[in-house]
Symmetry: none
Subunit: 195 residues, 4 copies
DNA sequence: CATGAATGAGTGTTCATTCAT
DNA sequence: TATGAATGAACACTCATTCAT
């Protein structure tokens, strides 16, 4: 029962691309490199991706999917919003550490392609999910009312990601990971509660 | 006595590079394009830049210099930290709008040569300057004491830049520029004061 | 009983090929383009043609068939050879106008496979037919005796085709179509009669 | 004294191209083949020709130049128009024999490029030269007056070339070369004189 | 007969970089 | 310093052809 479906080939190419581009960068990675590792023929690449650049949005999408899956899985049970936020921060730091190369390639790749706006559209369901959590927290009285849920969600997500990226990618490690995460947590909590 | 000094040629090449790369992206811009617009010979490029990639840090450096000049100039006079912060936010939004293409090209250059650390070093004096302002605010009692000046400065700078980039580059324009800036301001102020 | 016979598919592919190659040229036309327009699968092409190059002789054959059908149909009734020749010239000009793209593609196929001899063999029945007309004219005393029928037939056919091609393909339109045809006619008639 | 001028490289590339494309055809000849034989680098080709297709008009131009040089040189001295025409026909047969491959590649190449009209423009000075000879012959009373000099010149040139091409390229050699040339001569003479 | 996914060899073209002047 | 002709390595992408179903 040979079951090499189309989905398999798509994934093989995508994973190979992620691995190699993460290592060598987009510019230095050739299609030839990718297909060799994916175990398919040169032409097969173009059955699944319109061009080399078309890889980037696919990689970004993939990253976000993984991120959401991991976070959702780990934040399912939480006593209150602050426990949720703590777990969320931990997860983001952990994911950033694991996928730092992919994150960098998404930033640079989407910029190369002049398609930075795509980030926003890919993030949409992620933003949405966070908004729901935040709304609930407001309803519970854990977060001050009057908060602009939409804007604040994006702000928090970006702030946490930025802190993690500065720590793991920018190698700005004056403090420990724990200290960094604590600063993030308190900075956010102060802003969202009446002390 | 019109004498084309070395500095002139360096700047001519750098400016030409910024213009063309902003338009067409790094990948699609050739040295040939750049020298043509700069009005120098092909080989002259290599008298001033070691390689094509060496342009990116120079462009980034240039952007930071312009940013710091503009901001310093406009924030010289301020009654208190919050007036300073307001002006700062305005300036960042304005600069982001004007230089969005250059910012994008800096992102796209991120991954080249794994130059992420260079990025942080270029930001260093910028961070330093902000830290000084923040220290002063704490000394004045405008900002809660106990704040980690170093971490918080970076956080603020990144948060403001991110909000502006989401607005102008990610084209996330659900709210007006003014509303967006106001949200940023209050989010930060809440976090840095005892209500 | 609508049954797509083999002949149908052969013709569908051939017609599609003629259309697209006429538009885009042989080199820029892919088998993929052809089968898409013909409404058959990629592999089906190879059930009817050995290769892409095998299309050219088939297209040429097709053009000659059409030409002969049209000319025969229109020259059936003629008082004498000169009326016949006049009609013939008209028909060639008209066909050249209608099929100029196909003619060009036949030229472009000339060099492929050094297939020049194939060309002559395709023309054979055409030459033969014209020879019969010419023989008859000589028998009738309309054309001077002593004429080399074989050589002269080819000469005339080529001369008329060339004049038409210069007019429609070379766009050498200093004179009107009518003037051009009249020159051809008189040039030939002078040569074939004692004044 | 190394004197490799630009003209030299242009010619080296052009000659190499003519040789190889004549042998293998345009499609089967790669730029790599050409530059290797020309003894220049890959990139150098593009300093002299915009593209592979740009070779064809250059080759055609070259062929016409050679043709005119040879013919002019050999027809300088002639007692009358008919001696001139005889020599002309001989020359065309001889040139066609020598350059048959180049002729084929010009036909097919220009057709591939959809630039058949270029033929006409390249032929212009050739036509002009023949017209002058023909005018003189009419002035001398050797050729019937009332002849359309422009049209007839083109006709004669094409007729002679066609006969030669049928003989050497189409390999239509039922008769000897001499017979073929004699037929051409008499066919033309009959048409241009009152018998 | 028909299909269309898969193949992988093949190539025109670009362009960063060098170097003799 | 400055030039710009020359280099040649590198690569994305195409497409004729095959073959398992």
């Amino acid at each position: 029962m040979s079951t090499a479906t189309q989905q398999d080939k798509y994934n093989a190419i995508l994973q190979a691309a992620i691995e190699i581009i993460s290592e060598k960068g987009l510019h230095s990675t050739s299609i030839s490199d990718i297909v060799k590792r994916a175990g398919v023929a040169q032409g097969t690449f173009y059955l699944y991706f319109r061009s080399k650049n078309a890889l980037i949005p696919a990689i970004a999408q993939n990253l976000i999917s993984i991120t959401m899956d991991k976070i959702k899985e780990n934040t399912q049970q939480h006593a209150d919003f602050w426990e949720f936020l703590t777990t969320y921060i931990h997860q983001i730091y952990s994911i950033t550490d694991e996928y730092k190369d992919v994150i960098v390639l998404c930033y640079s790749g989407l910029a190369i392609d002049h398609s930075m706006e795509i980030w926003e559209s890919i993030y949409q369901p992620y933003y949405q999910w966070f908004q729901d959590e935040l709304k609930q927290a407001i309803a519970q009285g854990e977060v001050i009312s009057g908060t602009n849920v939409q804007w604040t969600s994006k702000m928090i997500i970006n702030l946490v990601e930025n802190a993690a990226e500065r720590f793991y990618i920018g190698r700005d490690q004056d403090m420990t990971k724990e200290q960094s995460m604590t600063e993030v947590f308190h900075f956010l909590k102060r802003s969202m509660t009446n002390s």
